[in-house]
Structures are given as structure tokens and as C-alpha cells.
């Protein structure tokens, strides 16, 4: 009791010291600004006579690294014309530690907060990169690292470098080595198959060859398996059916998981990877089920009402809730319920057609595509339906509204991929989670659908 009183008195005295006779102002939340970043061209430190294509290698390395940092939205790049130093003639490290090194004062004068200095060489078929990132106001290095990789892995080396920079800055992993899965007709025929690639759609690998229509790809939390639905021909019944498959990325094995009559689609893993949630229409109306990943055990979670559609389940990152879309109230809207099917609540009342809900990695936001009058746009909201925000609104070239659908959050929740037809065909686009900087990711004339970001990042 005495101790408690003593602590209480001390707290009282401390509080009094701050409050009596002094003006105390809470300044409030800071305005957000971008950090000024200087990324001079990477310097070739090997022997040019021995490596013919070093310029191309250096350019590829630079472009991938630069694009990653640009997408992160943390930085504002300083125009190279403003540099006061000839970066090719000074060292990668600062003077006076390194004779002939660069001078922090020359970067401080132009307002640079961060300076990237990079040298690279080619050594026996490998690319070797010496990377330095400096915090100019404190005149100290925040990243000093050397990378080595095969010449055909230049992009991966650059992504790794950018990831390390972001980690040095924020303490959290960057996501530039993350993977995505998507549906596309990239083969140039009418079939839609499942593909996986780097986040920027480079390094594409086709993982299905059903010569059919596939939909709804979904990653397992460990990134080893992709679920998808393909339209398959059932010989005995002589009908086409929407069956659920799983594909193991590293073994190439494929398994038929659910083939009940009707649709077996919209599957998504729970965070533990022990269950999948999907829609099955075996009993007439499409309802949500929980199933083991081998498809052997299943539990029905919804039952109508009145033959209503219950589709597109998305499990929350804590594994406790499912967001899904349903037309039980007339129009398709977003609903939420516990993973055992109880406590169903309607989240959206605005708009005419809301679909494809997906969670942010921290579980604080749900993104979905919503139709209000003439087209779909991407929206986000809190898991209780409040604070709804529109993220997209870019029109087509002819000025008419474009359709923006199928959102998927990045591993850090700061960006979203989505599909837009603003350029004519359905292409993959990206937008910041606050609705800023809508930018194109794919640059061709094929059609893409359902981009799904894998949140697991390599160590």
C-alpha cells in the first residue's frame, strides 16, 4: 500500500511539473512527406574489356532497383541534373575515410536525405554488387552490403537490394521479391490459364494447361500451393463442371480437390493452411463450405436463405472471420461472419453490386469492387463497414469510366493490385492503399484477371 501511495505521489508530482504554469501544446499527427532520394547511375568497377554487355547489365540492375523504390512511394527522386558531384569520378564511400570519395556536403546542399552509391562487376558469369545507402543528414551508412548472383538473376539481385534498403529504413521486410498468381490468356488463344510471376509480372510461369477457363487462383500461406477452379468435362455425366484443383509449385503435382456437381470455386486458405473455404452449389444454391486441403472433410457454413448466392469467401488474417459476398438481401453485397458460420453481418449498404472482398494483411481494412451507377471501382472499408473510401476513378481514353475490379493487397498492405480495362484490354494495375498513384503493371494487349499477391516473402 505504501509503495502504491509513493508511486501515485511521484506520478502526481511529475504531472504537476508538466502542467502547472507551462504551456503544453499537442502538435498532432504530422503531415506526410516523401524523403528526397538520390540514386546516381551504378558504377561499373570491373574491367570493361572483359565484359561486353556490362552496360546492359548495369542498366537492368538500376532500372529494377529504381522501379521498386518508386513503387514503394516512400521517396521523391532528385533529378540527376541537380547533382553537384560527378558520381563517376568519386568513390562509393565518403571522404575523408576514402581518399577520392564523395562529399556529403555536396548532397546535403541539394537537400538529399538518402544517397545510394552502387558499384558492380561481372566475375566468372556472376554479377557482384557493392551496395551502399547513406543517410545524408547524419552522414552515416544505413546499408552496406555485397550481393552475388548469376547473370540471369540480375532482377532478383536488384529486388533483394531494394528489399534490404526498405528493411534498413523501416525495420520491416520489403516485398519486391514477392510473387503473384493471376489468370490470363497470354498464350494468345481463347483459353484462360493460371500463371505465377514476380510482383512486376516478370519471370512468368504458366502452371496450368487445361485448355479451358480457369478462375479464382489462391495461394497457400506458405506459398507452396496454388488453388484454382477450372471448367472440366465429366465423362460419365457428359457435362462441364467447375472443379477445384490444387497445384504444388515446387513439385509440379496437381490434385483434384472438389468436384461436386455444379460449382466448386472461390477457394481461399485460412492463415494456418489447415482449411480452405469455398463455394459449392451441389445442393442447388451456392453456399460456403469449410474443407480440409485434401478435400476429404467438409462442413457447410451457410444455408441460403432462400437460395441466395454466398460466394467469394476471404478469411481474415487472424483466422476468425470470413468476408464474403451474397445477394441474400436482393443485390450482391459484402457480408462478414465467424469462421464457424455464425454471427452474419452485412457490411455494405451503398452501391448496387459489391463483390470480391479481400483483407489487408493487418486485418484493419477490407477491399472490394463496387458498382454504383455505370462501372466497377475499387473501395476499401473497415471490417465493420465504416470509413469507406474509393481508390480508383481513372477513365478510359475516350473519357468513359473504366472498370476496376478484383483487388489484392501487397504483403505490407500499402499497395493493391487490381484489374482495369481503362486501356482497352484487362490489364494489371497498382494503386496505393490511400488511393494515390494508380499505375500500370502489365504492358501488352492480353487480358488478365484475379491477381493474387503471395504475402510470404523470402528470407
Amino acid at each position: 500500500m505504501k509503495k502504491f501511495l509513493l508511486v501515485f505521489c511521484l506520478l502526481l508530482i511529475w504531472q504537476q511539473a508538466y502542467s502547472q504554469g507551462q504551456l503544453y501544446i499537442k502538435v498532432g499527427e504530422a503531415n506526410v512527406k516523401k524523403s528526397l532520394l538520390a540514386v546516381p547511375p551504378f558504377v561499373f568497377v570491373g574491367s570493361p574489356a572483359l565484359v561486353k554487355n556490362y552496360k546492359q547489365v548495369g542498366q537492368d540492375l538500376y532500372n529494377v532497383f529504381y522501379n521498386d523504390l518508386d513503387v514503394s512511394s516512400y521517396f521523391q527522386f532528385i533529378n540527376q541534373a541537380a547533382y553537384l558531384e560527378d558520381v563517376a569520378s568519386v568513390g562509393l564511400r565518403p571522404k575523408p575515410g576514402e581518399p577520392g570519395g564523395f562529399d556529403f556536403a555536396n548532397w546535403s546542399k541539394i537537400g538529399a536525405e538518402f544517397l545510394v552509391r552502387t558499384g558492380f562487376k561481372v566475375d566468372g558469369g556472376d554479377i557482384v554488387v557493392d551496395a551502399y545507402v547513406y543517410h545524408v543528414p547524419q552522414a552515416k551508412a544505413i546499408l552496406t552490403k555485397s550481393y552475388r548472383g548469376k547473370l540471369n538473376e540480375v532482377r532478383y539481385v536488384a529486388h533483394t537490394y531494394a528489399d534490404d534498403f526498405i528493411k534498413a529504413l523501416t525495420g520491416q521486410k520489403g516485398w519486391f521479391r514477392s510473387k503473384i498468381a493471376f489468370i490470363s490468356d497470354k498464350d494468345g488463344n481463347r483459353w484462360k490459364e493460371v500463371y505465377v510471376s514476380d510482383w512486376d509480372t516478370f519471370g512468368v510461369k504458366k502452371i496450368t494447361n487445361h485448355r479451358s477457363i480457369t478462375v479464382s487462383p489462391a495461394w497457400s500461406p506458405d506459398g507452396k500451393t496454388v488453388l484454382y477452379t477450372a471448367m472440366s468435362y465429366h465423362k460419365q455425366a457428359k457435362t462441364n463442371n467447375h472443379d477445384l484443383y490444387s497445384y504444388e509449385i515446387y513439385t509440379g503435382k496437381r490434385f483434384l480437390i472438389s468436384w461436386y456437381k455444379g460449382i466448386n470455386t472461390g477457394a481461399s486458405f485460412d492463415p494456418s493452411g489447415k482449411f480452405i473455404y469455398l463455394t459449392i452449389s451441389q445442393d442447388g444454391s451456392p453456399d460456403l463450405y469449410r474443407m480440409t486441403p485434401d478435400g476429404k472433410e467438409r462442413t457447410r457454413l451457410t444455408n441460403g436463405p432462400l437460395n441466395a448466392l454466398n460466394v467469394e469467401p476471404a478469411v481474415s488474417p487472424d483466422g476468425k472471420q470470413i468476408a464474403f459476398s451474397s445477394n441474400r438481401s436482393g443485390q450482391p453485397m459484402i457480408y462478414i461472419m465467424n469462421t464457424d458460420g455464425t454471427n452474419v453481418r452485412r457490411l455494405t449498404i451503398a452501391g448496387k453490386y459489391n463483390a470480391t472482398p479481400t483483407w489487408s494483411p493487418d486485418g484493419k481494412r477490407i477491399a472490394f469492387s463496387g458498382w454504383d451507377s455505370s462501372h466497377f471501382d475499387i473501395f476499401t472499408m473497415n471490417p465493420d463497414g465504416t470509413r469507406m473510401e474509393r481508390l480508383t476513378d481513372a477513365p478510359k481514353k475516350n473519357g468513359k469510366p473504366s472498370n476496376n475490379e478484383s483487388p489484392s493487397f501487397s504483403p505490407d498492405g500499402r499497395q493493391l493490385l487490381f484489374i482495369s480495362d481503362r486501356t482497352g484490354s484487362k490489364q494489371i494495375f497498382m494503386v496505393n492503399a490511400d488511393g494515390t498513384r494508380e499505375r500500370r503493371v502489365t504492358f501488352d494487349n492480353y487480358n488478365y484477371n484475379s491477381p493474387r499477391w503471395l504475402w510470404k516473402i523470402p528470407d
Binding site: 508538466y18 502547472q20 504554469g21 507551462q22 504551456l23 503544453y24 501544446i25 499537442k26 502538435v27 498532432g28 499527427e29 504530422a30 503531415n31 506526410v32 512527406k33 516523401k34 524523403s35 528526397l36 512511394s73 516512400y74 521523391q76 532528385i78 541537380a82 541539394i110 537537400g111 536525405e113 543517410h135 543528414p137 547524419q138 529504413l169 523501416t170 525495420g171 444455408n303 441460403g304 436463405p305 441474400r328 438481401s329 452474419v344 452485412r346 449498404i349 451503398a350 452501391g351 463496387g370 454504383d372 451507377s373 471501382d377 473501395f379 469507406m388 473510401e389 474509393r390 481508390l391 480508383t392 476513378d393 490511400d434 488511393g435 494515390t436
Partner: protein, 242 residues
């Protein structure tokens, strides 16, 4: 007559029995049907009132914070006469009410001053009669009232707005949710004479930007006469962000 009545009664009872048997049969049939062929449970959902609501429009992107290197000598730009389009706002003109309030407060303060003078005179008269010792002297107190309180609040509000305008953090730093408590002492014109931390965040960059914010905010709004000593000696404590 009696025979006829008995027949009617018998007839009535017979019909009653038939009716009861018929109803019992119906109940039995439905009961058996429900037991053998169960129907789906009817789910009842709470009624939701749905107003006709449109989805929200996209927010306009905030203007980027100007980079330090872009600071140049400002050339006075020609006046643009084009009216700025803004949604019409209904404003309540309270300037007259405020002026009236200040006038009334001034009058009240004048009365208070007269009263104080009177009291001071009477105290002077009684000073000799009543000896002063510890415990019988009334402190004037520190609570602000009337016009002083109004000026105090105005000054706090002005300083808050002035500092917040210069309080910028890069997003990667803002996400770390750091906190620092700084202080600043200013002269009568609002220029910083001393600054420092009561409680730094521990993050060098965050603390550097706190100090930079204070430096960029100099000169602060000039303090009112009665507060000059307070802000010059005790200083203003600034919580970043709270």
C-alpha cells in the same frame, strides 16, 4: 318435442366427434410428415434499414510537401482574377458577437480593476492594523479569466496551427509511431531563444525533424504582453504528436 330435441343433441355430438377426429387426423398427418421429411430451418435475420446510398467519391490526392531544394526566391506572381471554385459554405457571422463579448469583458475587467483598487486602498489602510504573517495572506492565484483567458486560448491556437504547418514526417518514419516532448522559449517577437527536449523519442532522425520543425517555425506568433514572461522563461512545451 322432447324426442326431437334428443335427436338434435345426438346429431350435434356426433358431428362434434367427427370434427375433432378430423382435426386430430390433420395434426397427426403434419406431425408425421415433419418427423419423416424434415424441411430446412427457416433463418430469421434482423431487419436492416437500407437507405439509397451511393458509394463515396475518390479523395483528391494531397498536394506534395515542397522539397527543400525547391525553395527559391519568390517572384511576386501576377494576380489571378479567376475565382476559385469552392463549394458554398454556410458561415455564421459571429464577428459582431465576438466584438460584443470582448467589449463586455473589457467593461467587466475595468470594473474588476476598480474593485481591486478599492480593495488595495482598504488593505493599505488596514495593513498597519492587521499584522501579516504566514497563513493570512491571500494569494492572487494563477487562474486566467476574462480577456486574459481569451488571449491565452487564441495564442495557444495560433502556435499550434503555426507549428503543425511545419510538422512533416516521411511515411516510413511516421509508421513507427514515435513520440517526443520538446520545449521552446521565445522572445517578445516570437523568435526562438532556446529549444530542446524534455523527452526525446530516441530515434535520431525523428528527433532531428522535431528540432527542424521548431527552427522552421521561428518566428513563432508574438506572445501577448502578459504571456511574454511565461513563454520566455518557462517556455512552451510541444508534444510531437501528443
Amino acid at each position: 318435442m322432447n324426442v326431437r330435441t334428443d335427436e338434435n343433441e345426438i346429431q350435434f355430438k356426433r358431428m362434434l366427434v367427427i370434427s375433432l377426429a378430423f382435426h386430430a387426423a390433420i395434426v397427426l398427418v403434419f406431425t408425421i410428415q415433419t418427423l419423416i421429411f424434415p424441411t430446412d430451418n427457416i433463418e430469421f435475420h434482423p431487419a436492416i434499414r437500407v437507405d439509397l446510398v451511393g458509394l463515396p467519391q475518390k479523395r483528391k490526392e494531397p498536394a506534395p510537401v515542397p522539397a527543400p531544394e525547391e525553395k527559391k526566391v519568390e517572384v511576386p506572381a501576377p494576380k489571378i482574377e479567376k475565382p476559385v471554385e469552392k463549394p458554398k459554405e454556410i458561415k455564421i457571422d459571429n464577428s459582431k458577437a465576438r466584438t460584443d463579448a470582448i467589449r463586455k469583458l473589457k467593461n467587466m475587467q475595468a470594473l474588476e480593476n476598480l474593485k481591486k483598487n478599492k480593495e488595495a486602498e482598504s488593505e493599505k489602510k488596514t495593513e498597519k492594523a492587521v499584522p501579516q504573517y504566514k497563513g493570512n495572506v491571500i494569494s492572487p492565484g494563477t487562474a486566467l479569466r476574462g480577456l486574459d483567458k481569451l488571449n491565452y486560448d487564441d495564442y495557444l491556437s495560433a502556435v499550434h496551427g503555426h507549428v503543425h504547418k511545419n510538422w512533416n514526417l516521411p511515411e516510413w518514419l511516421k509508421r513507427l509511431d514515435l513520440k517526443a516532448i520538446a520545449f521552446v522559449k521565445v522572445d517578445k517577437n516570437g523568435y526562438v531563444i532556446e529549444k530542446g527536449f524534455r523527452q526525446p523519442s530516441g530515434n535520431l532522425e525523428f528527433d532531428r525533424l522535431v528540432i527542424e520543425t521548431i527552427e522552421m517555425s521561428s518566428p513563432f506568433p508574438a506572445p501577448p504582453d502578459k504571456m511574454q514572461a511565461l513563454v520566455g522563461i518557462d517556455g512552451i512545451t510541444l508534444g510531437f504528436p501528443e
